[in-house]
Symmetry: C2
Subunit: 257 residues, 2 copies
């Protein structure tokens, strides 16, 4: 089966998570599956990678068409390890990161370990997808994500969409049957404001625990991922990595002359 497809999976919740088990089930329909995911949960790790310490890799499962590895690095480290070491002589057809517990829409794409891994995957010449559900509960319902994930994978593979291609896929926390379909849209403008919970540890030392809320800067706009999810759509944002603010190049060139 020389032409069998190879799908690489990772996430930021760790190799034992329910989300990756769901993705394995979906991805196996399309070919061989290799999973290389963090040993422990790594939420909020963004595009972080590890240069200051050594990392450990172990194989945790192997069966026909499936290999699963756990790695002590970040989600991005997992992708680098997979492509630059483990799979370096094999063509990968698709990278999928997720299914994440919690939305990575809007500015969350910047902070997300799930999307950090998906973005990293897109640097290796294959299409990549990050899939997240707007539900942090351990028993989040992944049926919609699996159903639409399958459709998105099928479309990418059958249409052979040109690379680089990185999709940020986010689903609202509603039952699969109530989802209205896929909406291709743009990243909502907004930011987080944090509230630090203050407490004292058992030795009387003050500590802070970060918590916050997202502020949507454009709640009325109807072409954004936040809007699409609120309306019951599966939001799909194509992601690129040029962060240059091209509109300000001329103004700043003049200012610094």
């Amino acid at each position: 089966m020389k032409n069998e497809r190879l799908i690489f999976l990772t996430n930021d919740d760790g190799y034992r998570s329910r989300g990756i088990a769901a993705l394995i089930e979906v991805a196996r329909q399309f070919g061989r599956v290799v999973v290389l995911a963090p040993e422990e949960p790594q939420s909020g790790m963004s595009q972080a990678f590890t240069m200051s310490r050594p990392l450990f890799l172990r194989k945790v499962r192997e069966e026909e068409g499936l290999e699963v590895y756990a790695f002590t690095g970040t989600p991005v480290d997992c992708v680098k390890m997979a492509f630059d070491h483990l799979l370096c002589d094999r063509k990968v057809d698709l990278v999928i990161s997720g299914i994440n517990h919690g939305s990575n829409s809007a500015v969350n794409v910047l902070y997300s370990g799930t999307m950090g891994a998906a973005i990293e995957g897109s640097f290796y010449g294959c299409p990549s997808i990050g899939i997240s559900v707007d539900d942090h509960s351990p028993d989040a319902d992944f049926e919609g994500a699996m159903r639409y994930g399958e459709q998105i994978i099928r479309t990418i593979l059958e249409r052979n969409l040109p690379t680089p291609l990185c999709l940020n896929v986010n689903l609202p926390a509603i039952p699969a049957d109530q989802l209205k379909g896929i909406r291709v849209c743009r990243q909502t403008a907004g930011y987080w404001r944090e509230r630090f919970i203050r407490h004292e540890d058992p030795r009387g030392r003050e500590y802070f625990w970060l918590t916050g809320e997202y502020v949507n800067s454009e709640p009325e706009a109807e072409d954004t991922d936040e809007w699409a999810m609120k309306q019951g759509y599966v939001a799909v944002v194509p992601v690129q990595v040029d962060m240059t603010d091209h509109r300000r190049l001329a103004e700043l060139t003049e200012a610094f002359e």
Copy 2:
């Protein structure tokens, strides 16, 4: 001195680093300075933030016009802590992150803790700058970064440039007198390829240590930060956070119909 300016400094190399000492020296010329930086080096932390554990803050220095705090979080946590807790009732005129040992030009902007903090700072309505020198050595020469940093700060404050404004400033590792001036430019397209160094730990367990090299996808382009630095310029890239690939919205809308 009600109108005295307030400059907030942070970095990813930790509050004890030479880079932040250099920034303090520069920034104090412009007003009061508050530093809140990581307890320990946090390179490669990107936009990572900490939700899984409590964080500890301590004041390490206070004198006329200067306060320095150390925080156990990431660079982004430091910015959130400063704005949402420590400084919440004070107007901040400028955020500066750095001076980093090592360039954050090109795609490094995605991985950089220095730029993660600068980007985070720009979410709080004040201009922000990340400054990095393309020299990882502990005794890197910061004279050029201090000189041009001062010029950039002065320009931003005197011209009152509109926000959001986030500048990624990178200097080549050459003496200050050889720098040719400021070049406003765009982020170079490219990616990293890693080589994992394999060894065995004292107990015979295999480990991996990440190392890699940057691949410039457009070495001939003359409007990029990589090109500017190679020519001896101080590269200044305005950074924005919409990662949507707007050029592909129509094509993908059609594909997923």
